[in-house]
């Protein structure tokens, strides 16, 4: 019996999810378009005064990113659950947490990274200056993976449940709040000319911690959900 290779397994898990996302582009675009539309509606609703827009910009963009990220959570495990692939993933001869981490990375690449890439456009639309936009992007790069990682725990717990979407929101929103506060807070501090090191350190700490803890919790949750 050949020794199974964990690296091959991880690489193909990642590749598989990316290929599937590419072949189901509509699903991927939903998240991004939701994000763009929500932020673009604010100037129409609030009015075109640039000072007000500049002031609310960090919060608006972060809230929109958070909701967009939550919108995409439903897809993380549900497709695999419905066609039986999730059972097979649980039966892989590898540590489930590591496999899950690769799945979350793939999920972030198709649902989180596009938000980061398009955020400068929205920042400009709301009148943020170049420095604030830079900070916004960094906070999103640090923060959106945390959203995906924490969200994966909620998605795993509710996989296979009817009305799981509502439950996921209730489960993960409280955990998202610190990320929202420090993410938006960093951009506000930058705009006010204050230092952002503390915010960034905390976001980095959230990322490091969720990267270590969330995959184990998600793996355990998946085993419980499929029991």
């Amino acid at each position: 019996m050949t020794e199974p290779s964990l690296i091959t397994a991880c690489r193909s898990m990642l590749a598989r999810d990316l290929v599937l996302a590419m072949r189901r582009r509509a699903d991927v675009l939903t998240t991004l378009i939701f994000f763009l539309i929500v932020v673009s509606l604010f100037p129409l609703g609030v009015g075109p005064e640039i000072d007000i827009l500049r002031e609310i910009a960090p919060g608006v963009i972060w809230v929109a990113a958070l909701l967009a990220s939550m919108l995409s959570l439903g897809r993380l495990f549900s497709d695999d659950y419905q066609d039986g692939t999730l059972e097979q993933i649980l039966l892989l001869p590898h540590p489930l947490a590591i496999i899950v981490l690769n799945k979350v990375v793939a999920h972030w690449l198709v649902s989180g990274l596009p938000l980061v890439i398009f955020s400068p456009l929205l920042g400009m639309q709301l009148g943020l200056n170049a420095e604030s936009i830079g900070i916004l992007m960094v906070t999103l790069i640090l923060g959106t993976p945390v959203l995906s990682l924490l969200g994966s725990v909620g998605a795993a717990l509710t996989v296979g449940l009817r009305g799981g979407g509502v439950l996921v929101s209730l489960l993960v929103l409280p955990l998202y709040i610190p990320v929202l506060i420090f993410g938006a807070g960093a951009v506000e501090s930058a705009a006010a000319g204050l230092g952002v090191e503390a915010h960034m350190s905390l976001l980095g700490a959230f990322l490091a911690m969720s990267m270590v803890m969330a995959p184990w919790a998600t793996a355990a949750a998946l085993r419980i959900s499929l029991d």
Partner: protein, 205 residues
């Protein structure tokens, strides 16, 4: 060697079975029978380690499968009701990725051979969502050929298959058992498999 000791399985408030004991040696086939809802699928899922038993244990070579998950999974192929086939991927991609995720070295030829043997030659490059239910089932079954494993756990493997495919699958199962493999399967129909050691367990009894 797969050993089941005092297994009890509960779904919700309903006890499906208890005190189940059997041992399956290399070169043996176990045929599970029982009416709908008698716990066949639950038993298979428990044997694979997907479900935790309410009581008792499942041992693989004398060790509890929950303690040696990776080693056990490496020797196991489970085919459930759902084929675990991705509609967006082609038959070949499905098979290749299933193998790679298990960390098996996938040789393209052996994968193509498996697909051809399941009667899907010429369709390996079609997305599986355009295939019929029986053809999807064949793609799922091709895993048995492409990825060598000692223990096959098959839940209703004959569903949706035509007469030819049923014969082919029977032959494959018989060959696997003859080569010292182990097979556990459930069916509703009487299935004659041409191999020596068949054991029957009826969950209704």
């Amino acid at each position: 060697m797969l050993e089941v000791r005092d297994l009890e399985c509960v779904r919700g408030d309903h006890r499906l079975f208890r005190g189940l004991n059997f041992t399956l040696h290399a070169g043996e086939l176990l045929h599970l029978r029982g009416s709908n809802g008698s716990g066949k699928t639950s038993l298979l899922r428990t044997l694979c380690g997907l479900m935790a038993p309410a009581d008792g244990q499942v041992l693989w070579r004398g060790k509890n499968i929950r303690a040696i998950r990776d080693e056990f999974f490496n020797q196991l192929i489970y085919l459930g009701h759902l084929g675990a086939i991705k509609g967006e991927l082609t038959a070949l991609e499905n098979l290749r990725l299933a193998g790679q995720m298990a960390g098996l070295p996938g040789e393209e030829d052996s994968l193509l051979n498996a697909i051809a043997k399941m009667g899907l030659a010429g369709r390996e490059d079609l997305p599986t969502k355009v295939l019929s239910a029986g053809q999807k089932r064949r793609v799922a079954l091709a895993r048995l050929l492409a990825h060598k494993a000692k223990l096959w756990v098959l839940d209703e493997p004959f569903n949706a298959l035509d007469v030819k495919a049923v014969d082919l699958l029977k032959t494959l199962i018989a060959e696997h058992v003859r080569e010292d493999g182990m097979v556990i399967l459930t069916t509703h129909q009487e299935v004659e498999i041409d191999t020596g050691k068949i054991r029957h367990i009826n969950l209704d009894a």
